[in-house]
């Protein structure tokens, strides 16, 4: 079950979410996403495996805005990490290494930590 897996990896209770949309309203990256953070939770709960291939978890920059504002204390940042982990642990990396040019270490190391398994 997808929901169980995500809860196990993130340590968050998905069923606490009541779809108020506050996470998506505050998310600075929302306009680049195919599914909004609250929609991602809904899709996981519906067991829609397609959410694993969504752009959203990779666009998340781990800024913690969503979880800080959540009235139910659901840390959506951790849910995004869980979705990334599901893919990365199947040995499917998200990063094309040849894109790394003229970037400071801080960006390169962060990206390899988040985009490779």
């Amino acid at each position: 079950m997808l929901a169980e897996k995500v809860e196990e990896l993130s340590g968050e209770n998905l069923y606490a979410c009541y779809q108020c949309g506050k996470c998506s309203a505050g998310c600075p990256m929302a306009e680049m996403m195919d599914f909004l953070p609250n929609q991602v939770i809904l899709l996981i709960l519906r067991g829609d495996e397609g959410v694993i291939d969504s752009k959203t978890p990779w666009i998340c920059a781990q800024c913690y805005q969503c979880g800080t504002r959540c009235p139910k204390n659901v840390d959506i940042t951790k849910i995004m990490e869980a979705l990334r982990a599901i893919k990365l642990r199947k040995n499917i990396d998200h990063l094309k290494i040849n894109k790394l040019k003229k970037l400071p270490q801080i960006a390169v190391v962060s990206a390899t930590r988040k985009y490779t398994g």
Binding site: P28, M29, C63, T68, E81, P104, I106, Y115
Partner: protein, 264 residues
């Protein structure tokens, strides 16, 4: 006063100017920053999966080094290092099961229990406001937008100031004579490491942030994070390609500006 200092990777290369300015600023205020004799990269962004503790080892190992060298308090400049070390330390303090695993895995190191305190330079400066005022030789005469980004303020339990409306950086710059503008996007993320994968996302974020600072009358943006600094300054050329009417703003580290005021 002496305080232990953990630099992290970028402070020794791309953000060397940030490190130099900070060390000199603190020296002027009578505080010596003493670099740890041995330190490693903290692993940058804090890992959030619950079952994989391997990613937390780098941060914990640095805290062990600080403890071994006899410190109970360390400071670090980079926002990502601050966030990662502080969150790892919170885990060490609150998750005994995880720490038992980590301590037994690193059997050659001393056990760690969360006893080292991580403090951000802004938190040290906050208690020296009067001293800063007394030492200003040439008051700042520009209007600044202080930009915090995300990792100094969130998650809530590690915030250096009020997480929705921080003012600590403004207070320091005001003490140096600077005028601070109201800047509602000061705690909105710049896009962080997504610049590696998707430059457009960062172009959009930084366009919003810089334009907002500009509309509110800023002459410069002040930051404390090497990655925010990179994104906000380096991406301006890319922004100009997408938004032809866009004119940029200089992006500076808070200690660079403060040192300028104190050196005269």
């Amino acid at each position: 006063m002496k305080i232990a200092y953990y630099p992290g990777c970028t402070l020794k290369t791309d953000a060397k100017n940030f490190e130099n300015a900070t060390i000199n600023l603190f020296k002027k205020l009578g505080v010596e920053l003493i670099e740890l004799k041995k330190w490693y990269c903290c692993g940058t962004v804090y890992s959030l999966t619950k079952d994989n503790l391997m990613y937390r080892l780098a941060a914990i190992r640095n805290l062990i080094k600080a403890k071994e060298e006899g410190y109970d308090k360390i400071t670090t400049l980079c926002s990502i290092c601050y966030n990662t070390l502080k969150q790892a330390n919170e885990m060490a303090r609150n998750d005994r099961e995880a720490m038992d695993k980590i301590n037994s895995f690193m059997e050659e190191e001393i056990d760690y229990d969360g006893s080292v305190e991580i403090i951000h330079p802004l938190e040290i400066l906050k208690n020296m406001e009067d001293k800063i005022r007394e030492n200003v030789k040439k008051p700042l005469n520009k209007k600044y937008a202080s930009y915090y980004g995300c990792l100094l303020l969130r998650p809530k339990n590690i915030a250096i100031d009020e997480f929705e409306n921080p003012s600590i950086m403004e207070r320091m710059l005001e003490a140096c004579g600077g005028k601070l503008i109201n800047f509602p996007l000061k705690n909105e993320c710049c896009g962080s490491y997504t610049v590696v994968e998707d430059k457009n996302a960062v172009v959009e974020r930084c366009y919003r942030i810089i334009s907002n600072a500009k509309i509110n009358g800023a002459d410069a943006i002040i930051t404390s994070c090497p990655l925010c600094h990179f994104n906000l300054s380096e991406i301006q050329e890319e922004i100009k390609k997408c938004y032809t009417t866009f004119t940029g703003l200089p992006v500076l580290y808070f200690t660079e500006v403060m040192l300028e005021a104190l050196e005269g």
